[in-house]
Point group: C2
Chain length 189, copies 2
């Protein structure tokens, strides 16, 4: 099932890091790409494309000037819309229905004030707890539940850097250079 | 199982929002409290305690000047240490062992460069994917896996505000005032 994340109302000064975290989490946990509205922010786009160049995969970030049109066109031509909001129905009650629906999903994640229309355009308003926390957290648990943990095994094509999991320490392979780098030798401890 | 999050190396300018998101996610997903090192930041502490006052529960944030001592004392007197890092062992391979261990857990989450010693002090170095993403995401999936989704049903004692999940819209109850507030009537749409 193909997933695109739509981040609403990005504000470069305030949201730069949170939006970057959101997009990186989206990529790592199996979304295909992201679209954002608000103020265009090339530095976020560049951070993400640098990560993709080094770590592989085809995650794409696009900007939209008109989120409403983006949602409407998605509904007309591509698939369904999930809106993550603390006011929605508990994820544990709706995730199987969403998972069972085979269409592509646009996962809408609010920034600052979310316009009421989003609640109406969404096919599902989904809450990851009804407590205030973080869109990064909500999206991550949503994707993890949607993919039922299979996203943790995902590999990224064309990666230049790969980590070899270690009980202690850091082992990084620079692909192509046939070079294994131990970034922190720990001898000093 | 009682969980405390230790956030390393907080930098007020750069990390304010990400650390706030991290602590809110920790609270919402079942941790008991958080400790942070780096530069003390009263505004983060106040944001969290405001949330606790309104939304209930006993989540506490503390500051430590010496994270190393905090970890060592934890290991001596209270329990085990989990360090979340993209270089560690895959969560799917170690979570049952961590879950089966009944002791309290200190979950260490890096900020900027994590000192090598953390990898050695940790009882488990755990990776939520070996891809770069977000400490908020990693912590959220870790807690969700640890508690096996039961954290989503958690209720918070003494809450003044409570959300009534809705398919569409926002329904908020101000507890004690016996008042139900519909924050966005939507009639205008």
């Amino acid at each position: 099932m193909s997933i695109i994340v739509l981040r609403l109302g990005h504000r470069p000064m305030r949201d730069k890091r949170v939006t970057t975290h959101l997009f990186l989490a989206a990529r790592a946990l199996g979304a295909e790409g992201a679209i954002y509205s608000g103020v265009r922010d090339r530095s976020v786009e560049e951070s993400i494309s640098e990560v993709c160049r080094d770590w592989g995969g085809n995650f794409k970030v696009e900007y939209t000037e008109n989120w409403k049109r983006t949602i409407r066109e998605w509904k007309k031509g591509r698939g369904k819309v999930v809106h993550l909001t603390m006011y929605g129905l508990p994820i544990q009650d709706v995730i199987s229905e969403i998972r069972a629906n085979p269409s592509e999903k646009l996962v809408v994640v609010g920034g600052a004030k979310v316009p009421p229309e989003v609640y109406h355009l969404a096919d599902w308003n989904v809450a990851v707890t009804s407590q205030p926390h973080s869109e990064v957290s909500a999206l991550s648990i949503f994707l993890h539940e949607l993919f039922q943990g299979r996203e943790l095994y995902r590999e990224f094509e064309g990666a230049r850097i790969r980590i070899v999991p270690q009980e202690r320490g850091k082992k990084v392979i620079r692909v192509g250079e046939g070079e294994t780098e131990d970034l922190s030798p720990f001898e000093s401890i």
